[in-house]
Amino acid sequence: MDKKKLVKQILAIFGVVSFMVITNVFIFAVFTNRCINDTSSQMQAKSVEVDQYLPFAQETKIVKRDYSDKLEGDLPVIDGAAALVPVFNSLVYSIYPESSVKYENGDFTSDSALQYHNTRGAFKGIVDGDCDIAFCAKPSDEQVRYGLDKGVELELTPIGREAFVFIVNKNNPVDGLTMEQLKQIYSGKVTNWKDVGGANRPINVVQRNQGSGSQTTLEKLFGKDIKPNFFGPLGSSLGFSFRFYVEELTKHGHIKMLKLNDVYPSRENVQNESYPIVSNFYAVTRKGETNPNVQKVLDFVLSSLGQEIINETGYVSL
């Protein structure tokens, strides 16, 4: 047997094995591991676990404000976005009777006046008649059209304000962007962080599910034709959310909010309106709603006590 040939064969086998192993390790480290939801404890704490925000549970994270004039009769069913669970669960605590909220085996029962189906489910519920008040960001065009197709016009009552923020990994050297730079990034004209003062890495324009509150807000700002960068997943991500949802994470986690036109999205800058993108969030109802308790809920949310609850929950009142 030729010794040289044997060495070559062993080297070839070693080379192929090494290539396969390195490829697998690369894919796992760069992509797979980032998709596993075992993130920081701060992020886990922020994830809305409804059972931690139950209005009448002994141990709950909601803001509790007692109010003597509880609703009676036909109670409107309340639903809404994940990010607003702390708000509407606090409102339910103040004005709904305790017996109206029924939570069993990790979910609200069908006869409970409080439900949780997130933004898309809540909008569908309003149109289909499964819920009466949805606490959400502005609906998408599709959600409005879905209602109109079924003969339901939505009425949006602003109940608070929040900054729409752009987020990056805390190690990203970029601390801020301008609106013009964002337009260029989302239109696909700028695809590398070095073109906006950062590292030489592709910009990964990440997006959320269609119909989610923040995705709808992004599309209203930059249009629906958002161009993802093909090489983006190999680079660094640019994400978005609402300030309340990520603020705590910026203190202890691994992300940071970007300044926009040199203004940081602090609570103060939302209140004084110096931050460029401040969105309302809404109590969404059906136009022509006849249940008088729906108006009572809206009146309470807009009252000084309701607005106090919104502030204390961490959002910004009107």
Binding site: Q9, A12, V30, C35, T39, N171, S241
Partner: protein
């Protein structure tokens, strides 16, 4: 090692390798569709 054996070993390694890469990619895509945007950004490699 005979040429035939060598080719067999190489073929098996290549098949196992490609199957493992494809499986990992499928798992990654499934996980990506379920993961939160913030988690994905938090765990970015720098």
């Amino acid at each position: 090692m005979s040429d035939k054996l060598f080719k067999w070993i190489l073929s098996i390694i290549a098949i196992v390798g490609v199957v493992s890469i494809v499986t990992l990619l499928i798992v990654t895509i499934v996980l990506y569709r379920q993961t939160s945007m913030i988690t994905f950004i938090e765990k970015e490699l720098w």
